[in-house]
Symmetry: C2
Amino acid sequence: MAASCRLKPLSSVAVSGGTHGNEMSGIYLAKHWLRDPMELRRGSFAVTPFLGNPRAIEKCERYVGQDLNRTFTTELLSSTEAEDEPYEVGRAREINQTYGPKGSAQAFDFMFDLHNTTANMGACLIVDSEESLLPMHMCHYIQTHYKWSPCRIYLYKLPGEETYSIDSVAKAGLALELGPQPQRVVRADLFAQMRALMACALDFIELFNKGTVFPAFEIEAYKITGRMDYPRYPNGEISAMVHPKLQDKDFLPLHPGDPVFQTFSGEEIVYKGDTTIYPAFINEAAYYEKKVAFAKMEKHTFSIPGLQRE
Amino acid sequence: MAASCRLKPLSSVAVSGGTHGNEMSGIYLAKHWLRDPMELRRGSFAVTPFLGNPRAIEKCERYVGQDLNRTFTTELLSSTEAEDEPYEVGRAREINQTYGPKGSAQAFDFMFDLHNTTANMGACLIVDSEESLLPMHMCHYIQTHYKWSPCRIYLYKLPGEETYSIDSVAKAGLALELGPQPQRVVRADLFAQMRALMACALDFIELFNKGTVFPAFEIEAYKITGRMDYPRYPNGEISAMVHPKLQDKDFLPLHPGDPVFQTFSGEEIVYKGDTTIYPAFINEAAYYEKKVAFAKMEKHTFSIPGLQRE
């Protein structure tokens, strides 16, 4: 990897609130910015706010037909319109037309995506992989300048997997994942944190655009390696809950033999893996149907090359 | 009021889980008890568990057509079946047939109803009014014997209002309201608390049935006096959030002039009432649509007469 890279300045930047229609921090932030976009302006650029999934927001549901934030694959984006397709497939095409097309030179330079989780993940920064240079520098800048809480980096792309999230239609992107917050609830504290994180991220873009040289650094990040489902009865219903000793312990080490689940009868189920992992999205409400009790993460230190504008 | 009352022993007792289909502690408890009802047995009686709103549970939604727990009014229970009626109106009639009829001698002696809230209400005991003698004695017994957390008593009936909740079909009832827990999430800690509270309540019934004399006592309880809506834009959307200084402060005093809301632009809105109140259900997810940011409660001390079986 080169010791330093040069990238073009960012001029087209968008932010989606309500990619999931029941995650309220981003929805109310985006609605606020649509009324008053002043705080999204910097000297060298301005951010375009939009509502990711308006129909789901209207219903205060995560989605209407299918999860929008898993719909930005090449296959779905290039599919021809069909009458019986889920609403989100058409909505993904619209977003791709407006802010993409994904992978093209015309795509927006950057997209932010605002999320909440019921898990105790604090202020989490989600990037596709450590190879995304500009987002990793943005994370580093946020970690250095945002003092409210630690901001862990979550690398979401499994090896060989295609990107599928809304921000993947832009040339680069970052998702903010703030929790814990119940679905359909807006907490003033998390709202203020999300707003401050966005301000910090925009300050980084402004510095980058104006020619600041960002040196190489080492950084700790959590990389997904797989997902753990709940124990289930033969009919598919869960037969156990996240163990009280694991609940709310996102990003803390889980060792082989540590308790992970507790059955409704009270029996303890332990982690049978070979190595220590760092669970995240523990007991996220939306993941029961995805058969995910938590994401299995490894903690790594990555060397990130320097960055400056062309 | 008499210094002591005699009531018949309780033989028919039911417990509803999933009166709201996305409040998971009671749903999984009821499903567990339907598989294995052993712990609902005592020497003098056994409890019948049931799922309050099976269709809403299936969809993991609070309700399908309308809130089941507001449907047990005389008017709705006596209405004739109509093709276009909400599912819950028919379901309420079924429940009334099985465990009622409401107000009749045939009605079940007691019904428990299991709920969760996203508000920070701890383990809250909900009774219609302080005049409900047996439930007030049950609350007193729980407060004395359940050591996990303080159990506040919430008296839900406004003066002149008819009872409308599912447990009102039985001769007496108690709702357990445990929080904070997000909708669609089951936390092992709250699940264990709800189970322990139920065990404690059943122990009380067993003692009562066996002839224990419960003397008169004084008890503190919170009585609803009204509800406070969010500030809203002309289009009906909320324009402010629960203030961070009020968030999570259920049952603590709110004085005139204390902050209650924070607009999305950051302005503070203060409480303009004349007297100190004790808010509850602060920022409950399901109450945004009901136009309730919190319930306004007064704190009272009530004298409850003694109780024993006939």
